[in-house]
């Protein structure tokens, strides 16, 4: 048995079975047609989301249901990681670090809100995810930290210590967490790229395709937010870009950083790549960011189809599972939130 087959033989069967059991498109339409959250969680209960339904029936809290979904999302990737060895495991671990970084960023934001801006964080702190990913990070210590030094101390012996401590000065000067968060993201992508380079050819190609997709999403989202919402300078915007993207080259991103409507620039740059991916159909009336995300969403679907339809014993199956699971859980989450906030049916449909 070849190394590639050996590495994925169990995982491939398991993940394909799971992918086969994902929620059907019809079900999502039924879910979006629910009149209340109660109805939606009942429908989810029948589809194996008992944990989510139980959480709602005990607490009435949709955000806790969302946390259950998030826990599932993390769990699905960590489970795949456990089934792999060596450099393959290291790559999936590098991908899964994303959840750790998101938790860390949330904790630091909460601390910043409370300690620096003097705002109340009581309603948010309870929803801080404390799901362990790879390293033991005391998020409560971060939220309750007395100083920046205390936060940096909490992160000792983790890859996050350097990006945090090295950007503290800039954060203090600018009064914003951007530089720290972007540095954490950039390091994350660099670690993923390094892990991908260690993979055998077939796996590496899949890994790099995922990184490219994620980096494009990240960069597009950053540029649009940084320009449209925060009004950052071109230098600040480009300093926050992450490596590994494929759809947008540095010139395009710079041009978008200068543009009045950066999203339009990016969609134009996608050109034919966005065709068939729903950019024009799904995003015609949507905001710029949604337009870009819709285009890149099409690319994700194309990748998933290619990986699932191709050679079965490779990283692509794991990454396809990761992408489809993430998409499913986020759609469920979006519908629950839309229902909770009493949004109109068409908005709920749009969440799909």
């Amino acid at each position: 048995m070849s190394g590639q087959v050996q590495a994925y033989r169990v995982l491939n069967a398991k993940l394909r079975a799971r992918i086969g059991a994902l929620l059907a498109e019809d079900f999502f339409r039924t879910l979006a047609g629910s009149a209340t959250v109660e109805e939606a969680v009942t429908a989810l209960d029948e589809q194996g989301f008992t944990d989510v339904a139980e959480t709602y029936r005990t607490t009435g809290d949709v955000r806790l249901c969302e946390q259950e979904l998030y826990r599932r999302e993390i769990g699905s990737l960590l489970e795949a990681e456990r089934h792999l060895d060596g450099e393959r495991r290291a790559f999936v671990a590098a991908v899964a670090d994303r959840y750790e970084i998101e938790n860390l960023k949330t904790a630091v934001r909460l601390w910043f809100e409370s300690a620096v801006r003097g705002r109340r964080i009581e309603s948010k702190i309870a929803y801080l995810s404390r799901v362990p990913v790879h390293r033991h990070i005391d998020y409560d210590r971060i939220v309750n930290a007395a100083s920046w030094a205390d936060i940096a101390g909490t992160l000792e012996n983790t890859p996050y210590a350097a990006p945090v401590s090295e950007t503290i000065d800039h954060v203090q000067q600018s009064g914003s967490l951007f530089s720290m968060e972007r540095r954490l993201d950039r390091d994350y992508f660099e670690r993923m790229l390094a892990a991908a380079r260690a993979l055998p050819r077939r796996d590496r190609e899949a890994a790099e395709a995922l990184i490219a997709l994620e980096a494009d999403r990240e960069n597009a989202s950053w540029v649009v937010r940084a320009v449209s919402y925060y009004g950052l300078s071109e230098e600040d915007v480009t300093a926050g870009l992450v490596p590994g993207g494929a759809a947008f080259d540095s010139r395009t991103l710079r041009r978008a950083a200068r543009a009045e409507r950066p999203g339009t620039e990016l969609v134009d740059a996608l050109g034919t790549q966005a065709a068939g991916g729903g950019a024009t159909a799904a995003g015609r009336h949507a905001r710029e960011l949604e337009l870009v995300e819709a285009a890149l969403g099409g690319e994700a679907e194309r990748l998933v189809r290619r990986w699932l339809g191709g050679y079965p014993f490779m990283m692509g199956v794991v990454l396809a599972y990761y992408l489809v699971t993430m998409r499913e859980l986020r759609r469920v989450s979006a519908v629950l939130n839309s229902l909770f906030y009493g949004l109109e049916a068409d908005v709920v449909e749009a969440a799909l």
Binding site: E38, T59, D61, A115, R120, I121
Partner: protein, 686 residues
Amino acid sequence: MMFTSPMRYLFAAVPDSHAEGLSRELLHLGVLHFVDVRELDRAHALRAEEVGEERRRIAEVRRRIESTLATGNLDLPDLVSTEMSGGAADVKRAEELTDVIGRQVESLRTRQRELQQQIMRLEELRRQVALYGAAGRAAGRAAGLGEGHGYLDARAGTVPRERIEEFRAELRAYPAMDIELRQTEDRVEVLLLTLKRNASSVAETRRRHGWQDLELPDTEDISQQMPSTRVEAKLESAREEQQELGQQAVEAVRNHREELESAWRNLRHRELELDVRSFFEHTERTVVFSGWVPREHARAVEDAVRRATGGKCYLRWYSDNEMSRSAHVNVPVRLHNPRLLRPFQMLVENYGTPSYGTVDPTVLVAAAYLVMFGLMFADAGHGLVLLIGGILGLRSKRIRGRTRELFGLITWCAVSAIAFGVLFGAYFGMQLLPPLWFDFHAVVSGHAGEGAVRSIYDILVITIYLGITVIGLGFVLNWVNLLRRGKRLEVVFDRAGLITAWLYAGGIYVAYRFAQSGFRELPVGRDLLFALALPALLLLLKEPAEAVFGHRAGAMEDGSGATTGGRSRGVAASAVAAVMNWLLELLEVATGYLSNTLSFMRVAGLGIAHVTLMTAFFEVARLAAGDGGFGVFSVLILVLGNALVIGLEGLSAAIQSLRLNYYEFFSKYFSGSGEVYRPISLAGRS
């Protein structure tokens, strides 16, 4: 039961005014598999009944009721034949009912949500208190508690009595714990625990409510006063209240159970009636509809239509042959077996729907499956455990549909395991009673006494005989199916036709003679010629026979090989192709049927594995006891071993039996191209 149910086709025209009553009658009968009349004859100027919008609305409200019932942990009621009060007013009432209950439940959820906020704040405080209790007590004592510890801010003070409730209410917005130390005439002494990060906001609250600082009590006193048990108690009470609210939500639904069930029945009834009416096509003053009815129900349907219309109807019945020939429509397939055999019917349906008019293999599958399972899982004790599990599953009201059939299958398998266990004298891996057939354990262990079955080879031979029987039965069923479908030529030349069966029988004969000679010599001369060579040569006639008797006639008439030269080249090419096909088919038949037959040896393999595993567990149990007897640990090993064997071997035996049925048996005769019979009945569109 041996064949799919014979069907008749009904075409009916009734006055428009009777449509309502008629749809109700047909629904209650629940045997008509409707066919859209326009699919048969597009020339008619027919207008379909508009039921879409009403049906959609009913389905939506019905689903809401189902969701509400689920919130109350209530199952759907049976759809008994209740009279409908019918119409849109019922939908509105049902909608109002779900709205009222929905609002009640929602208000309880809101309260649960508020409590959850409180719980989360208390949990955060608990985390800090735990930190204080574990590591910080000593440090707190040394540093002075007034400085606080970690992220906690502890302080003592007094608040005016009239302000204390308001003060407490405001503190609920923070992770905070206030402990009343004592009351004086006009003030309340309080020990207050908050988080440092809220220090400034809490200080403002304290100021507004007239807080006056006191010196903190001794650390030990505080430790006794405020430790985590108090937070725990508060948390516990909040959680209990939250659970209570959850229960109230359930009760809020249950209080309306009868109304909900009645509304659901009403809506579902109406929805199904509309399903029936969606097949009604209208002319100026009449309604026409058509569909398939099992022959034994044809009279009942006719009576029902006449009753509903007061005899003012036009009915015309067509036979299955007439319809499939003239209108080229598929006749729906209905498998009709006794309730007890439903689990096996499920296995058949899982594979496919047999073609109309062919053999319904349910009974034969039941027999083959149970023999295979029994041989692989022969232990009366293990069977008994399965039987208990199966019966418990069948008795559970929550288990429905296909899962219920699965428990039925487990029960059947249990009976088979018990029967074969008794035949082989196996009871939880022990021989409590002498075997009625042979001692499987003794044979596998190599110390079988006298008898027909003395070695593992004898067991393997038994399973090969079983395979030959099953495959032979497959041949016969194939011939029956082909004859019933009028494919006489294929009865002779099919892949499981007469000639192939002759070859298969010849192969078995040759193999038998070879084995009888001690695997030294094959039969020679006339035997070999008659057993193998003759049927093999006859198979060469397949393609010419098909060409002559019509299979290729159509193609030739279409123009292939239309010119003389072309035809001669076509004949030469066909001859070469026929020889090539013949060789390939011979190869396929030889390897295919050999592997099909040997495949049944897995039955012996799993049976032997079952025995070997049990023997191994007994050995381990003996070794664990050390003195040759059985101790508590040994019993534990045996219990776990039995559980493992029941779970794993049971699953393996069930899967392998299914595999043998699907691949070795069904592949010989089963043509799964039928359309399922789906009447509209009170059970839905089945």
